[in-house]
Symmetry: C2
Subunit: 246 residues, 2 copies
């Protein structure tokens, strides 16, 4: 009960310590994202920086903390983004939302230090999760308010801002699953197109939208798929790892 103050002072007090921590965080983040959270071991993270597994524990108390800090980092950047747009002079909600979308994609896919998204939030322990969720909620609220403002101003159609926010965030966060730095488009470009897509939608001219007459989810009702996926197919037991593409 008294070890906290004393025992903890022993760890990482030097000048380069903070920088070192950034490096570790960076490597961890990169690996988490590339190979998955559970697939990356502490030894692996350490090896990526030419150091030893046990040495990591001189800078971070646990893997959990590594993950938590990654998320805090990213979340911090996103919140900065949201706040930054808010402080600007008089900009319309749609302009601000555009920038936010573009920035979001950029932060998630190009930012160097901690690029791990909200993904895997439930992997962090309860105590830390609470803080993360609170900040995430804050970010989501910011977006939602922006949409509400747009609706109030008449710029946006009257929509369920909660759902719209969720749809928006889904599209944006999902980018980490497929975006490739050496792909044909930069993160910022993707962000720009996404903004356009989400704000203007797909439809072109005056919507001659007749409510789909057919049965919408009727096809989904075919649950009884006879022998669709036979279980007795060839099953190669055991097989591990390998490189994972996008």
């Amino acid at each position: 009960m008294v070890q906290s103050a004393t025992a903890r002072r022993l760890e990482a007090s030097g000048p380069g310590a903070e920088k070192r921590r950034r490096e570790i965080l960076g490597a961890a983040s990169r690996l988490f994202r590339a190979r998955g959270l559970h697939a990356t071991g502490m030894r692996e993270i350490a090896a990526a920086l030419g150091m030893t597994a046990g040495n990591l524990y001189y800078y971070f108390p646990s893997k959990q903390d590594l993950l938590a800090y990654c998320q805090e980092e990213t979340l911090g950047q996103l919140l900065d983004l949201a706040r930054g747009g808010a402080s600007g002079p008089r900009r319309t909600p749609d302009q601000r939302l555009r920038d936010l979308i573009e920035g979001h994609v950029t932060v998630l896919n190009e930012a160097t230090p901690g690029s791990l998204a909200h993904l895997e939030v439930n992997e962090v322990a309860a105590a830390r999760r609470a803080s993360l969720l609170a900040r995430r909620r804050s970010y989501e609220t910011a977006i939602r308010r922006l949409i509400d403002a747009g609706v109030a101003a008449g710029t946006f159609r009257p929509v369920d801002s909660r759902l719209a926010t969720l749809a928006l965030l889904g599209a944006l966060n999902w980018t980490v699953k497929w975006f490739q730095p050496d792909g044909r488009k930069s993160a910022t470009e993707v962000g720009r197109e996404f903004a356009d897509l989400l704000l203007r939608g797909l439809l072109s001219g005056a919507p001659k939208h007749a409510r789909a007459a057919g049965s919408p989810a009727a096809a989904a009702k075919r649950h009884e798929r006879p022998g669709a996926t036979s279980f007795n197919g060839s099953l190669s037991k055991r097989e591990r790892g390998g490189s994972n593409g996008a």
Copy 2:
């Protein structure tokens, strides 16, 4: 080298076997989704059905297979959906896309047996992953073609159909992260609103969109956040599990 044909016949040949497998698959799927793939152990899945861990191996050769089958199942339903819409008489691309969106959300969030999305694809071993990725690609292509068709017909604005598909799928797949069966809206309702949102976008009237004059991602450049997240905060070591909310 000769065990395959012989040894495997010993497993699960009875009449109720197939039904049993469905049950297992269902429980696994439910748990995977609720507590996360790695958080759910075989013993847990077994316990959920009142059986024993080792008993599962009488029906499935490995946890990997459990996961793979879950994904195959879901993917199969989605492909059915895509094909179903295609076979219909003369329906416009936007109508078909609407239905597909609605169906997608429904399948992912209400379907009983295997509701695990494309998520976690890289968790399955190489051999099986290949098949899954192929089918997933097939599904994505179907959507993309739908969009292309819509563009060709003039119903949709000229967009990068690849990006549009990705944005769409992101929004849809992300629903599994927040959707709650006992929430205020059913999966189908959510799907319907999403369809509307994605097809029509947020903007209302004639877009008086002046290209955002300000610096778009300028705020994102603030990487040097001074002491924003101090690392020396209180760090509670060790802490495990706990219930995870959405």
